[in-house]
C-alpha cells in the first residue's frame, strides 16, 4: 500500500496540472490530488492545458491522450519545448507502440493505463515527486559549489555543528596558515579575527558571532578582518546549512574591499554627496547581493499605506536593476511609479525613481534612476495618510479665518500638511493657529477644532504646502486615532481592490 502521508509531506510546495476531457474523471482526480498537492490546476483539453501551463508553471502535468482540440502527446511536445524539467505523466486507454515512442521522445516521466488505479497513480506520483526533490537538492548543492568557486575572493569554512572541519586554499593563504589546525591554534575561533566596526559582525559581550550567523542563515553580514600583511579587508559573510547533510554548514567570506564601501558605514563621515561614486557603490552592492542569492526589501506607499515585500535580484544592468518580487508589490510600484529598496548590507535606503518595465507574468520589475536617499518615508515615526477628498479644513489666525483655498494633503497624529493657493500674510514659523477639520469616520462627518503650530512651508509655482503641528486638548487625540485607523482600513480595502483591477 502506498504511503500517502509521505507523498503529502514530500509534495509540499509542488503544484500539479491535470488535463482530462471527461468532467467526472477530472473532478474525481481533483478530489484525490488536492490531498497531496498544495495547488491543483485542471484543464478540459490540451489547448487549455497548455494555456494553464504557461500561466502557472506547475512542476507536474498529468494528461489524458485522447482529447479534443489538442491531444495529450501534442501537449507534452509543447510543454517540453518550454520546460525541460517539468514531469509529465500520460494516462491512456491505448497501449500502442507509436504513443509509447512519442512519449519516450518527449521524455515523459511515466505512463498510466486507464482506468487509472489509485495505488498505481500514487506510486507513480511518489516516484515523480522524489525525482523533483532529488533534482532540486542536487541543483542547490551544485549552485552553492559553483558560487563558491566562481568567485576567487571567497574564503570558505565548512563546519559540523559548531566545529570547523574544512577550509579552502584562499582561506589558508589569507591568514598565512598551513592548515585549519594551524589557524585554530593561532586564533581559536573565526570570531576572534572579526574586528570592531559600526554595524558589522563581531563578537561583543553577550553577542556571539556564530549564534547570530547560524540563526540567520542566508542573511548577509559585513565584517572587517586584518590579513597576514596587517591590512584591513572588508568582507560579506554568509552562513548556509548544507542541503544534503544535516548538521553541516558553510560560512563564506566574500572579499569586497576593492569596492571601497567601508566609508559608507562610518556614521561620522556622512558621505552621501558624491553621486557618481555612490551609484557605483550601489551597483556593486547589488552584485554582491545577487551572487549571494540574498533578498532585498521593496517599499512603496499607497495613499500613505506602506507596502513592503521581499525581492530577488535577477539582473544588474548598466544603469538599471531587474528584481523578482510579488504581484502585490508590483501593483504598488505601478501605482507609485517608483520604489525604495533596503537590504541589511546596504547602509542607506535606495530610491529607484523610474520604472523601465513591469512584467506581471514574470513577476519582475526593472527600475532605474537609482540613488541613495538621505531621508526617506521609511524613517517616519507616525502613520501619515492621504485623506479622502471630502475632508474639509479651515485655518484661523487669531480670530480671522484664512480666506484662501485649503486642501488637506496628508494627516498624521502629529501634524497636518495643507496645500494653499495663497500664503497667509504675516504667518511665521512657530506661530500658533487654530485649525478646524471636518473628518469622516464611518461615513459620518466629525468636526474637530485643534490648536497647532506653523512648522514649515514649501513654495511651489502656484501653491504653497504648509505643515502644522498639532497641540491636543484632552480626548482630541483619541478622535484623530479613530479617524486615522478607520482611514487606514479604507485604504487597505482600496489597495486590495486595486489588485483585482
Amino acid at each position: 500500500m502506498s504511503d500517502l502521508k509521505k507523498l503529502k509531506e514530500d509534495a509540499e510546495g509542488l503544484s500539479v496540472l491535470y488535463v482530462e476531457d471527461n468532467e467526472v474523471l477530472r473532478k474525481k482526480a481533483c478530489i484525490l490530488l488536492v490531498k497531496f498537492f498544495d495547488t491543483v490546476y485542471t484543464a478540459k483539453d490540451g489547448e487549455e492545458g497548455l494555456e494553464n501551463f504557461k500561466k502557472f508553471h506547475p512542476e507536474i502535468v498529468l494528461t489524458d491522450i485522447q482529447m479534443p482540440k489538442m491531444d495529450g502527446l501534442e501537449l507534452s511536445e509543447e510543454i517540453r519545448k518550454l520546460s525541460r524539467d517539468t514531469k509529465i505523466v500520460i494516462m491512456s486507454a491505448f497501449d500502442d507502440k507509436e504513443n509509447l515512442h512519442r512519449g519516450i521522445v518527449n521524455k515523459v516521466s511515466g505512463f498510466l493505463s486507464k482506468p487509472v488505479n489509485i495505488n498505481s497513480l500514487v506510486d507513480l506520483l511518489q516516484e515523480v515527486v522524489d525525482e523533483i526533490v532529488d533534482e532540486r537538492n542536487k541543483k542547490l548543492f551544485l549552485t552553492h559549489v559553483e558560487n563558491i568557486f566562481n568567485y576567487q575572493s571567497t574564503m570558505v569554512m565548512m563546519l559540523k555543528g559548531t566545529q570547523p572541519v574544512l577550509v579552502n586554499q584562499m582561506f589558508l593563504d589569507f591568514f598565512g596558515v598551513t592548515d585549519l589546525k594551524d589557524f585554530i591554534q593561532k586564533n581559536i575561533s573565526l570570531g576572534n579575527v572579526f574586528l570592531e566596526h559600526d554595524g558589522f559582525l563581531y563578537d561583543k559581550p553577550k553577542f556571539n558571532w556564530f549564534h547570530e550567523l547560524s540563526t540567520n542563515a542566508k542573511k548577509l553580514y559585513h565584517t572587517k578582518i586584518k590579513n597576514q600583511k596587517n591590512e584591513f579587508r572588508h568582507f560579506i559573510v554568509k552562513f548556509q546549512n548544507l542541503p544534503i547533510e544535516t548538521g553541516y554548514s558553510v560560512v563564506s567570506l566574500d572579499d569586497i574591499t576593492e569596492l571601497n564601501l567601508l566609508e559608507l558605514f562610518d556614521e561620522k563621515q556622512n558621505k552621501l554627496d558624491n553621486e557618481e561614486s555612490d551609484t557605483n557603490a550601489i551597483f556593486n552592492l547589488f552584485k554582491v547581493i545577487q551572487r549571494n542569492n540574498a533578498t532585498l526589501q521593496l517599499h512603496n506607499y499607497y495613499k500613505g499605506l506602506i507596502i513592503t515585500n521581499d525581492g530577488a535580484i535577477i539582473e544588474v544592468k548598466k544603469d538599471s536593476i531587474v528584481i523578482k518580487t510579488t504581484f502585490l508589490q508590483e501593483k504598488a510600484i505601478q501605482f507609485e511609479r517608483k520604489s525604495i529598496l533596503t537590504s541589511e548590507v546596504i547602509p542607506h535606503p535606495i530610491a529607484c525613481d523610474e520604472i523601465v518595465k513591469i512584467g506581471f507574468e514574470s513577476q519582475s520589475v526593472e527600475l532605474r534612476k537609482i540613488h541613495f536617499l538621505k531621508e526617506s518615508a521609511l524613517q517616519r515615526k507616525t502613520v501619515r495618510l492621504i485623506p479622502e477628498k471630502e475632508i474639509k479644513a479651515s485655518i484661523f489666525l487669531g480670530e480671522k479665518k484664512f480666506q484662501g483655498d485649503v486642501v488637506v494633503e496628508d494627516i498624521s497624529l502629529d501634524a497636518i500638511r495643507l496645500s494653499l493657493n495663497l500664503f497667509p500674510a504675516g504667518l511665521r514659523e512657530g506661530d500658533r493657529v487654530i485649525i478646524d477639520i471636518v473628518l469622516r469616520i464611518d461615513k459620518r462627518p466629525v468636526p474637530i477644532n485643534l490648536n497647532a503650530i506653523f512648522f514649515k512651508k514649501v513654495e511651489y509655482r502656484d501653491s504653497f504646502s504648509i505643515v502644522l503641528l498639532f497641540e491636543f486638548a484632552p480626548r482630541q487625540q483619541s478622535i484623530l486615532v479613530q479617524y486615522i485607523t478607520s482611514r487606514q482600513i479604507t485604504i487597505i480595502k482600496e489597495f486590495k481592490g486595486l489588485q483585482n483591477g
Binding site: 507616525t382 502613520v383 487625540q477
Partner: protein, 252 residues
C-alpha cells in the same frame, strides 16, 4: 480590581502591571480580560492589549505609568480580536514593533494594519528578546488554543504571561484578580479549557516547558492569576487535563 490595575512586580527598575479592562459589550459573559505592561527604565512592552473597545481606557491607564512613545514592543499571543483587534489603533498611536506568530501576519490587514516593516514575526520555536538588562522569552504554546500561539516569560519578574492558557470564566472580582483556592478554581478552568484547548498532548508539552523555568506567577489573559504554590498546582493540573481532541466522540 481597584482602578482596573494591579502592580504584580516592582523592584524600582523593573515593573509589571496588570490591567483589567473589559469590553463593555461582553461584560455579561464573565470572561474578564487582562492586559499586561512590563516596564524597565524607559522601555515598555505591552502584552495582549485587547480589542478596540478598551483602547482609550488602556491608553490612558498606561500613560499614568510611562509615556506612550516608550512602548517599544507590543506582543500579541495570538490573532483573536480580544487580543490583537486594536493593532491598527496602536500602530497609529505608537512607534512600537509588533510581535506575533508569523502565521498571523497576513490576517492583521483585516484589523486595518498592513505595515509588515513594523512586525517582528515569531517562528514556531519562538525567540529570546533582550529587554533592558534582562530578557523575554517567547515560548511556543501552539494550538492552546490558537494554531500560532505564544506565551512570554519575563526573566526578571519570573512571570509567565500565558495568553489563554489558565484562563477561567469567572466574574471579574472587585479586588485583586488572583486564585485564592486552587481546588475551588478548577471548576472554572475546566469549563474553558475542555472546549478551547486542543489536546492533552499539547497541554503536557507546554507544562513541561514551563516547569523547567523559575516561575513565580502565571498570568493568563482571562480570569485570575496563579501565584506561588498555585503555579505548580496549575502546571500539574494542565499536564493531566483531557481536552479538545481527547473528547472527539463528543464533538463529532
Amino acid at each position: 480590581m481597584v482602578n482596573n490595575e494591579k502592580i504584580l512586580y516592582d523592584d524600582g527598575i523593573h515593573k509589571c502591571i496588570m490591567f483589567g479592562f473589559d469590553d463593555e459589550t461582553h461584560e455579561d459573559s464573565f470572561l474578564s480580560v487582562n492586559q499586561y505592561l512590563i516596564i524597565q527604565n524607559e522601555h515598555a512592552i505591552l502584552i495582549d492589549p485587547g480589542s478596540v473597545g478598551i483602547f482609550d481606557d488602556l491608553y490612558e491607564a498606561i500613560s499614568n505609568h510611562i509615556a506612550i512613545e516608550n512602548i517599544k514592543f507590543i506582543f500579541f499571543s495570538h490573532q483573536d480580536p480580544d487580543v490583537s483587534g486594536s493593532i491598527a489603533h496602536w500602530s497609529v498611536s505608537t512607534n512600537a514593533k509588533f510581535i506575533i506568530s508569523s502565521i498571523w501576519i497576513r490576517f492583521m490587514s483585516h484589523y486595518g494594519f498592513a505595515d509588515t516593516t513594523r512586525i517582528m514575526a515569531l517562528e514556531d520555536h519562538g525567540a529570546k528578546l533582550k529587554f533592558g538588562n534582562d530578557y523575554l522569552r517567547f515560548l511556543p504554546a501552539h494550538f492552546l488554543h490558537s494554531p500560532g500561539n505564544f506565551s512570554v516569560y519575563d526573566s526578571r519578574s519570573k512571570i509567565v504571561f500565558s495568553g489563554d492558557i489558565g484562563a477561567a470564566i469567572v466574574p471579574s472580582p472587585e479586588s485583586y484578580k488572583h486564585v485564592e483556592n486552587f481546588d475551588q478554581h478548577v471548576v472554572f478552568l475546566e469549563a474553558f479549557h475542555k472546549r478551547y484547548m486542543s489536546s492533552n498532548k499539547l497541554c503536557r508539552a507546554w507544562s513541561a516547558q514551563i516547569a523547567k523555568l523559575d516561575v513565580d506567577i502565571i498570568a493568563p489573559q482571562h480570569g485570575l492569576i496563579f501565584e506561588k504554590e498555585d503555579v505548580k498546582l496549575f502546571l500539574d493540573w494542565i499536564k493531566e487535563f483531557q481536552c479538545g481532541s481527547d473528547y472527539m466522540e463528543e464533538l463529532y
